[in-house]
């Protein structure tokens, strides 16, 4: 069985834990319980006749109370930068984290624009959108609440990892 480490990164309260919960257990909670430190969840998926175990590293969000630590990325096969489309600042924080991660690894990266069930408070024009797309291998608009694109995102990433 192949094992792949995937890190979820981003500002606090963007929905990292919720995405993992939705993907692994199929549940969602409105209540916000902030993550402290790191929690690892596992999920096995089948892809092209292969069994892949995803080790999902859900990490505490980065903000004034918790600075980004690159060492948790060691050994990561890929990572997901999660941003919250109701808070424009989370996009900028996400991009900052992305820049920091890029200094230590070149592994595939995904941008998850989460909370797609809520109205967005920032407008990306096409050129902006493109320039972000260029920074990432894939980009998804997800909702941990409705489950929209969650499964798709993780399996697309797994597929990418399988090939590389």
């Amino acid at each position: 069985m192949i094992q792949k480490k995937i890190c979820l990164l981003g500002a606090s309260s963007v929905g990292k834990t919720s995405l993992v919960k939705q993907f692994v257990e199929g549940i969602f909670s409105e209540k916000y319980l902030t993550t402290i430190g790191v929690k690892i969840d596992k999920k096995t998926i089948f892809l092209e006749n292969e069994e892949i175990q995803l080790m999902l590293w859900d990490m505490e969000g980065n903000d004034t109370y918790n600075v980004f630590q690159e060492r948790y990325l060691r050994g990561a096969a890929g990572y997901i930068i999660v941003v919250d489309q109701t808070r424009a600042t989370s996009l900028h924080e996400g991009l900052d984290i992305h820049t920091l991660v890029r200094q230590v690894t070149d592994c595939p990266a995904i941008l998850a624009i989460n909370k797609s069930d809520l109205p967005a408070t920032w407008n990306m024009d096409d050129s902006e959108n493109k320039s972000y797309q260029n920074l990432f291998d894939l980009q998804f608009s997800t909702s941990a609440k409705t489950g929209s694109n969650v499964e798709e995102m993780f399996s697309a990433l797994a597929k990418l990892l399988l090939r590389s």
Partner: protein, 710 residues
């Protein structure tokens, strides 16, 4: 001994594993036990070696870093950070590992950190929820503010404004009040009535929400009078206590809505009940006195500290630092860049003040510093210079664009200038406000003359407002001569103020004040409309003469300018080809995107554009290439010495050839002598303007000149 040790280790909720093989991660359990530890390693028999494997993936991963410690020659240790492990019995453990090398022993200590985890969980949860609430509040306020402004700025003919406003504010989740300039009348939403409801117990007439807010501001803000008299906006927190049972924390935003004459027509006031947020914060002592963003002490904490020092009669200097044009910066780069700037600034200032000094963030873009153990202005100035030096270095946006900011500092001394917290805060606020005359760094010590000067400004502003109403302005025309034909083909329109008592006043003496007070928009519109009339009149007489008019920086950024210009052109039925806009080089650089948009628009309809005062400021060629331009006007300062000064000669030649390369024509300003003229002719300058031909003159005289040249 070992028994005691074991007890201690158990009490600490730790287990100690000795590493047997660093390569395979094989360890032996040597000390400590407990249910949690058995849950964690169910397969580890007592004193038996076992391997740390993917059952505990975080720990397995940590072994990589730990091995570096264990294989090193020196003693050392490394902590893993907190992680959550779900056991096979589905319990969650909150753990931390420490890799230790001590005298040839390789150890792995695992601690059950449940308490620390829960503490962190609680405080960070709280802090993050507070951050989120503030974020949301900010968004909602911003949105409604923009919406209301756009409604209030509609022309009054659209008489259903009141109905629209009432509808829009009724849907807001927080209190919204829109008051007349003197606060005598206002509309408010039901959220406002609910927020300020004092119950039915009170026998006397209940106060109106607006009166309550004003009273709170008056009592709690030393800068209250300044805000009202200068028509400034304010936002911050107020505490409303109304016995027997009301204690509410309000986040209040207070914005003026001004007309073209810079008079306040309405006030928009938002009040959000943030008592719950405050309450959350207050549970956490440290946060209550801290500014969330910069982590500096907040306003309340600063006022407390001031009180303390005053009570102890310890002399100090109080500084008030205000970032110039912060709003503009925020609009240009975005709200989060603004936050970033505030954090960076607070760090820089903190780094240059002494540990005995006290710095706090006391408002949106305002910082206050108490310089202790200083009793003379000279020492204070040295401290201030350190602060200015620290902010003079460029700042960077997240996209690594660099930019500079400037600040205004107000300073006052205790006990010399004021003896109470209110007085001192009021004085430094006023001083800083007064320093804001330009975009440069400024320092103002509190003084009588400063008070007088600010009074003078207010008078001039009032006079200007009168002048607009009474039509006291006049446009003069200064002819511009085309060198090839040696005839007038253009004129620059220049404003003069015909003051009823003081006579003719030059623009230099009033335009800066108009610019600062916002009156420039009204004056600028008068200039545009008058220019159009004049151009029409001249054209109707059969002359093909272009008139150029000057735009000030605020006009360039005024969203309505182009619409106004188009209306005037249509009303006067003139060909836009007969009009030209002149903007200064500085505007093009400072407000590049606004300028580019406006200039492209005007050129699309056929007007031309010239750059005034060229060469005095930035001389950045990059924008010249990018912007839609037709003419460069070489500043008079170069022309003045052109005959004697070889440098100026070289500059003027270079400018002309560069301009021609970019397909721009060149006009020389301030030409006074024949020698200057012949130099310009020899070097293919396109047109000239100056006393050698004519001063700025009145319209009828200008027309006479045109007839003579016919």
């Amino acid at each position: 001994m070992t028994q005691l040790l074991n007890k201690v280790i158990n009490a600490l909720e730790q287990i100690i594993l000795e590493v047997i093989d660093t390569n395979t991660g094989t360890v032996k359990w040597v000390e400590g036990d407990g249910e949690w530890a058995i849950d964690l390693f169910p397969n580890a028999g007592n004193q038996q070696a076992f391997a740390i494997n993917e059952e505990t993936p975080f720990l397995q991963d940590f072994l990589f870093d730990a091995t570096l410690i264990w294989q090193a020659a020196e003693n050392g240790k490394l902590r893993s950070g907190l992680w959550t492990e779900t056991t096979h019995t589905n319990k969650e453990l909150y753990l931390e590992a420490i890799a230790i090398k001590q005298d040839q022993h390789n150890l792995l200590v695992i601690t059950n950190q449940r308490e620390d985890f829960e503490f962190q969980q609680k405080t960070k949860q709280l802090a993050r929820e507070v951050l989120l609430s503030y974020d949301r509040l900010f968004l909602k306020n911003e949105y409604l503010h923009t919406r209301l402004l756009s409604i209030l700025k509609q022309p009054p003919e659209q008489s259903n404004i009141l109905t629209t406003l009432t509808k829009v504010i009724e849907n807001a989740e927080f209190a919204v009040l829109i008051a007349s300039s003197d606060f005598s009348t206002n509309i408010e939403n039901s959220a406002a009535i609910k927020l300020f409801d004092q119950g039915t117990l009170i026998s006397s007439q209940p106060s109106r929400p607006i009166d309550i807010i004003l009273r709170l501001m008056q009592n709690q803000l030393p800068e209250y009078e300044r805000i009202l008299s200068t028509n400034s906006s304010w936002d911050g927190e107020l505490c409303w206590i109304s016995p027997p049972s009301t204690l509410k924390w309000l986040k209040v935003a207070f914005y003026p809505v001004k007309n073209k004459l810079n008079e306040v027509e309405n006030w928009i006031i938002f009040a959000n009940d943030i008592s719950t947020i405050k309450h959350l914060i207050q549970r956490n002592e440290q946060l209550a006195l801290q500014d969330m963003l910069t982590e500096l002490p907040n306003r309340f904490s600063f006022l407390q500290m001031l009180e303390k020092h005053i009570a102890a009669k310890q002399p100090f200097y109080l500084l008030y630092i205000d970032i110039n044009d912060f709003r503009r910066h925020n609009e240009f780069y975005g709200h989060d860049q603004g936050d970033k700037l505030l954090i960076e600034l607070s760090k820089r200032i903190s780094a240059v003040v002494k540990t005995s000094d006290f710095i706090a963030r006391v408002g949106g873009d305002e910082f206050a510093i108490m310089l202790n153990n200083i009793d003379n202005q000279k020492a204070c100035k040295i401290a201030i210079q350190r602060i200015i030096d620290s902010i003079n270095k460029p700042f960077h946006t997240k996209k690594s664009e660099s930019f500079n900011i400037s600040i205004s500092i107000g300073a006052a001394n205790y006990p010399h200038d004021g003896q109470s917290v209110e007085e001192l805060m009021k004085f430094v606020d006023l001083s800083a406000y007064n320093g804001k005359k330009n975009r440069k760094n400024s320092v103002q010590f509190y003084s009588q003359s400063m008070k007088d000067a600010s009074h003078h400004l207010i008078i001039v502003e009032q006079n200007l407002r009168q002048a607009i109403k009474n039509n006291e302005f006049e446009l003069y025309l200064q002819p511009i001569i085309d060198i090839k034909t040696n005839r007038i083909n253009k004129a620059e329109a220049l404003i003069r103020w015909n003051h009823p008592e003081k006579g003719l006043i030059n623009p230099d003496d009033f335009i800066p004040i108009a610019e600062k007070s916002g009156l420039i928009i009204a004056i600028g519109e008068w200039v545009i409309s008058r220019t159009c009339q004049m151009a029409k009149q001249i054209c109707d007489l059969g002359f093909d003469i272009k008139i150029s008019m000057n735009l000030s920086p605020s006009q360039v950024t005024d969203n309505n300018l182009f619409a106004y210009l188009s209306t005037c052109i249509n009303d006067n039925k003139i060909n836009p080809r007969l009009l030209e806009l002149e903007v200064t080089e500085g505007v093009l650089v400072d407000d590049y995107s606004a300028a580019e948009k406006l200039l492209s628009n005007v050129r699309t309809i056929g007007m031309s554009v010239s750059v005034d005062d060229f060469g005095t400021g930035y001389s950045s060629l990059s924008y010249l290439k990018k912007l839609p331009l037709d003419f460069l006007k070489i500043d008079r300062s170069f022309i003045k010495e052109i005959v004697a000064d070889d440098n100026d000669k070289a500059i003027v030649r270079a400018v002309i050839s560069m301009a021609h390369n970019l397909n721009l024509c060149v006009t020389a300003e301030g030409v006074e002598t024949k020698e200057q003229l012949s130099f310009l002719v020899d070097n293919s300058c396109n047109s000239v303007q100056g006393y050698i031909f004519s001063r700025p003159i009145k319209l009828d005289y200008f027309i006479k000149l045109l007839h003579e040249q016919k």
